[in-house]
């Protein structure tokens, strides 16, 4: 863990949106090379208001409304980073980042490698992702599998207000490109956030045990963390004591924390919204199996979104992993013992 001194003013309950905004504001104030850019990030403050007030405070050159063109936005950010700036790019919605994938995969992820370390690209790409907000199609994709499959990208996702601040600061400070996945249904989640004391910025790549337990480990991240916490509470009625691990970072993946937890509990369930086939859970289950085989009392199971295009809002509750589906899956762990 890295501790950085910050002087934030918020002492009251704060939302994740406010924490993200604060993180950018503090980073911009401290480092004149930090530039925020994207569609509608200026006067409007972004469609989710995450960049609210930044253009006013730092000027349009530091918080820039770009033309509506994702490849252009990310491509221009590459050039800006080549010249020593630290662009923080906002992709308006998960599914609208796809036009920028050529830039992302062919250039952003590879520039350090193809220049033998001479030209790292410190770009943070903020992507509001995931469902649960009643959005229409193209506004709810869980696109993390595409990102984690691309070497050279760091992929992080906060699940709490405090981590939203800390992880975004760490991402902007990173010399590597970071995909910063913002669980949009947690934007308005609140917490007593009073970081007067130096805030703890989690090192990228550090998972956290959010709840200790002995019966099984729920491994999750981002939007599914609150669901898992709720499931763990509900599981007490069944007499199960569930441990919950919040990955916080998908790449790098904190295998040690996960493995240690599963070795303690002997059972594991991976929970995420994105589809199961080829999703991050498949990788995690494989790794856990490789490293914990002799400690496992049951196969590693997954609770994921279905392998379908994101459903219409009126059906999304059937698609997203909920408490019941998690508990049913945990029950299967017991039977297979």
């Amino acid at each position: 863990m890295t501790t950085v001194a910050v002087k934030p003013a918020a002492t009251k309950p704060a939302t994740m949106a406010q924490a993200l905004n604060r993180a950018m504001r503090d980073a911009m104030a401290e480092d004149p090379t930090v530039h925020v850019m994207g569609e509608d990030v200026g006067a409007l403050g972004g469609v989710f208001r995450i960049t609210d007030g930044l253009a006013k405070e730092f000027g349009e050159d530091r918080c820039t409304d770009t033309p509506l063109a994702e490849a252009g936005i990310l491509g221009a950010a590459v050039g800006m980073a080549m010249y020593g700036l630290r662009p923080v790019v906002e992709m308006q919605f998960d599914a609208f980042a796809y036009p920028a994938f050529e830039q992302l995969i062919s250039h952003v992820a590879k520039m350090r490698n193809r220049t033998r370390g001479a030209m790292p690209l410190p770009i943070t790409i903020r992507v509001p992702y995931g469902g649960g907000i009643g959005g229409v199609e193209h506004h709810c994709d869980s696109s993390e599998a595409y990102y984690v499959a691309t070497p050279g990208l760091t992929v992080v996702t906060p699940a709490t207000v405090e981590d939203a601040y800390g992880l975004l600061r760490a991402s902007i400070a990173s010399d590597d490109p970071v995909i910063f996945l913002e669980p949009k249904r947690l934007y308005w989640s609140k917490a007593d956030w009073s970081p007067e004391a130096p805030a703890v910025v989690p090192g990228i790549g550090e998972a956290l045990v959010r709840r200790t337990g002995t019966s099984a480990t729920l491994i999750t991240y981002g939007p599914s963390l609150p669901v898992c916490m709720e499931a763990a509470e509900a599981a007490r009625e069944e007499g199960w004591d569930l441990e919950v691990v919040d990955l916080r970072s998908l790449v790098p993946f904190d295998e040690e924390t996960v493995v240690a937890s599963v070795r303690r509990t002997g059972r594991a369930v991976v929970v995420h919204e994105s589809g199961g086939f080829g999703g991050p859970g498949a990788e995690i289950a494989a790794r856990v199996t490789e490293r914990c085989f002799h400690h496992l009392e049951a196969p590693v199971l997954r609770v994921t979104g279905f392998d379908i295009p994101y459903p219409p809002p009126m059906l999304e509750k059937h698609h997203l992993p909920g408490v019941d589906r998690i508990l049913d899956t945990v029950a299967r762990l017991q039977w297979e013992n």
């Binding site: 033309p67 063109a69 080549m82 010249y83 250039h107 350090r112 033998r116 001479a118 030209m119 993946f253």
Partner: protein, 384 residues
């Protein structure tokens, strides 16, 4: 209904732009001339700078020799592939010559010669094509971006870099190169649009060499010329004879000057021809006839300049020989450099993926290390 009849269409809705909208202040006309601009063989050649033209000549001869040597290296298996710029040397060289030291060049995969003309060591310029590490040089040191293989994707980088430099108050121009086929890509459009909106100090040089691999320009675009594309973005488009290095130098210099002085971007279409095949893997006879190639060979960039300079008494036999000798020396050095077997460390595979290696990569590096050690031990065992 015509466009003019549409509600809200016509001149009036533009007459009171909202305050944030800034019209172009630059007076340069947007539409290109109907014919490619030429200097050599026209009265405009009277004002040529002899010293500059002699330098151009020496560079052209060196560039042609470089092309020949690199092509020969593919035949010897020293290079996996080489996209030749024979016939296009005037574009490549003029692009490098008009830039100041602090300026940046954003080449496409075909533009190694431009990088060499900018001063990059020919061997370093060719590592990508040899199968050695992708970028054989430090881009910051030379201010040459890595040669871009995905078409047109380097163009938004040029815009971003130029924009960043201007934000920092630095006097930097970015010149980005792309082929005629590359102008159909979305990234071309996005880069042009960004550059114009941001009034970024960028020059786009499109080398229209007739073909994108096998596809002729007529199947690539329905625009009258590629230079016309500039108009829609609000930047000047220029059409120039890409085999006329004097014209290329003049038009590029003017665009660089405009960019440097805050006048915004320019798009230049250089009309030229790819004399050789796309690469050594291509069979050009499948899509074009000899007559066309021969006609373009008669419009050779070196001959055009040589004819002009000798007719004006600005170049003689000794000048021609001096240029040839210098080119031969470059070719010999390139041969020597390429004949040396590159030494690659397999462990470098893991060296530059992330600033801090991930656990996963450390594990994989250890696996490869063990494989290499085992192979080495086996070899030693065999030897004893």
């Amino acid at each position: 209904m015509t466009v003019q009849e549409l509600p809200g269409a016509g001149a009036s809705h533009r007459s009171t732009p909202p305050p944030a909208w800034r019209p172009r202040t630059d007076a340069a006309p947007l539409l290109p001339d109907p014919e490619p601009y030429r200097v050599l063989g026209t009265p405009a050649a009277d004002r040529l700078d002899p010293e500059l033209m002699r330098r151009c000549y020496a560079e052209l001869v060196r560039g042609r020799r470089y092309n020949a040597q690199a092509t020969a290296l593919t035949r010897q298996g020293r290079l996996a592939v080489y996209p030749s710029t024979v016939g296009q040397e005037a574009c490549e060289i003029a692009a490098a010559m008009v830039l100041e030291e602090q300026d940046w060049l954003f080449p496409s995969y075909r533009d190694t010669l431009a990088a060499v003309a900018r001063g990059l060591d020919p061997v370093q310029a060719l590592t990508l094509l040899r199968g050695d590490w992708h970028t054989g040089y430090d881009p910051r040191e030379h201010r040459i971006a890595p040669l871009s293989t995905p078409l047109a994707t380097q163009l938004p980088h040029a815009v971003g870099l130029a924009h960043a430099a201007r934000l920092r108050g630095d006097d930097v121009v970015a010149l980005a190169m792309v082929g005629d086929g590359g102008t159909s890509e979305g990234d071309f459009h996005e880069a042009m649009n960004f550059a114009a909106v941001w009034q970024a100090p960028v020059v786009f040089l499109v080398q229209n060499n007739g073909f994108a691999i096998s596809v002729p320009l007529a199947k690539q675009t329905a625009a009258p010329t590629l230079a016309h594309k500039a108009v829609g973005y609000g930047m000047p488009g220029r059409l120039v004879d890409g085999n006329d290095i004097a014209a290329m130098h003049e038009v590029l210099s003017e665009a660089v000057r405009r960019a440097r002085s805050g006048g915004g971007p320019t798009m230049i279409e250089a009309v030229t021809y790819r004399i050789e095949a796309h690469t050594n893997a291509d069979d050009a006879t499948r899509y074009r006839g000899d007559a066309e190639v021969e006609a373009w060979k008669a419009h050779d960039p070196i001959e055009l300049l040589e004819r002009e300079l000798t007719a004006r008494g600005l170049l003689d036999e000794s000048g021609i020989k001096a240029a040839k000798d210098a080119a031969e020396a470059m070719a010999a050095a390139l041969r020597d450099g390429m004949n040396a077997e590159p030494v690659l460390d397999p462990m470098d595979l893991f060296a530059h993926v992330y600033a801090r290696q991930t656990g996963r990569l450390r594990e994989q590096a250890a696996m490869l290390r063990a494989e290499l050690d085992a192979a080495e031990q086996e070899e030693e065992g065999d030897g004893s």
